[in-house]
Amino acid sequence: MPLLVKLSTSLRKQVTGYDPHAGLELEFAPGESAEGLIRRLGLDPERIKIIMVNGRSAAPEQELADGDRVGLFPPVGGG
């Protein structure tokens, strides 16, 4: 089963062809961490503050499992 990646706010503009409705399906790579996935997407891990795996916050070094849903968020502070 592929990974389902959902990007939030400004990250959506940084991945070409990202569809906010469907998210992004990516092939599962055994042993890959959340940070590895972020790098695979060409995103800067320093700019991603919140990583959610299956709806729960995760550390960058967390190893992903087949079929995981991964949400990535940059800092959001506007009012």
Partner: protein, 284 residues
């Protein structure tokens, strides 16, 4: 009660209910007459009526979701709104309409033209005026029973403790994470529950942070990311989003004031008006 009923007789309105029962409400003229008779303020008159199950007409449509005891509790509640711009302007108006009796409205800024797309209190007439002052005037005008106080100040570690101490709820309507971290610290130290709301583009986040709960450091790390890293710099703060996030913040604030369950510790409400989708994420 008979005395109150007799006093208010010319003003009482009977409101039938679907089950054949009815409840009574009383309009502003009746409340003013009662306040004058008792030599007390409008809020006192509202509380006396609610105590007897008579609804001030202005809150009548809250009945059902709220009972008279809830409405009285809100009138006796205090809240602070930190920031009176996109999130804060509507939050002030909603809290005043909801009937929260004591509001502290804080913002050091003045309205400018670029606020007009989303900030409810920014109008051509208020441009150049202090946001907090305009907010206090609007709240008092909307609900004369609401005591609204403006603080035209930028917040920081020096003035925050005094502003949040004793407040039953503090609503974070600020526009940068550095100030939001300072506010969270002050609320934790003062034991005041905080409702956090932030947005960028068509997305928003809301979290309830009681003292001891996970908070902004669990979300964004030990130090606040610089304002230039915020997604809002790229995506802006378009018209619909602050209103939606402010409404979510006010509903969480209301539940805190009424002792009702709401967002749990560590839960992050993520709103995506673009999809649209609303999801609850969990920290830790």
């Amino acid at each position: 009660m008979p005395e109150l009923r007799a006093l208010l007789a010319p003003y009482l309105k009977e409101n039938p209910l679907p089950d054949g029962e009815a409840f009574f409400s009383v309009g502003l003229a009746g409340l003013e007459a009662l306040a004058a008779h008792r030599g007390q303020g409008l809020k006192g008159a509202m509380l006396e009526c609610l105590d007897q199950g008579l609804w001030p007409e202005r809150f009548r449509a809250n009945r059902g979701e709220l009972d008279a005891g809830d409405q009285a509790r809100l009138l006796n509640s205090s809240a602070a709104v930190m920031g009176c711009g996109g999130l804060g302007g509507l939050t002030c108006l909603l809290l005043a309409r909801l009937g929260v009796g004591d509001l502290l409205l804080v913002d050091g800024d003045n309205f400018e033209e670029s606020n007009l797309n989303r900030q409810m209190l920014a109008t051509p007439e208020t441009l150049g005026r202090p946001k907090a002052q305009v907010a206090a005037e609007a709240a008092a005008r909307l609900n004369p029973a609401c005591q609204a106080k403006a603080r035209v100040e930028w917040i920081g570690p020096d003035n925050l403790p005094e502003m949040v101490t004793g407040r039953q709820v503090v609503v974070d309507c600020l526009d940068n994470l550095t100030a939001r971290y300072q506010l969270e610290d002050a609320c934790r130290a003062a034991g005041a529950p905080l409702v956090h709301g932030a947005l960028a583009g068509m997305e928003g986040m809301v979290m309830v942070i009681r003292p001891g709960d996970p908070g902004l450091r669990d979300l964004h790390g030990p130090t606040p990311p610089p304002k230039s890293h915020g997604a809002e710099v790229l995506l802006g703060t378009p018209t619909p989003t602050p209103a939606a996030v402010a409404s979510l913040e006010v509903s969480e604030a209301m539940k805190l004031l009424l002792g009702r369950p709401g967002l749990k510790p560590g839960q992050l409400l993520h709103l995506d008006l673009g999809a649209p989708a609303l999801e609850i994420l969990t920290l830790g």
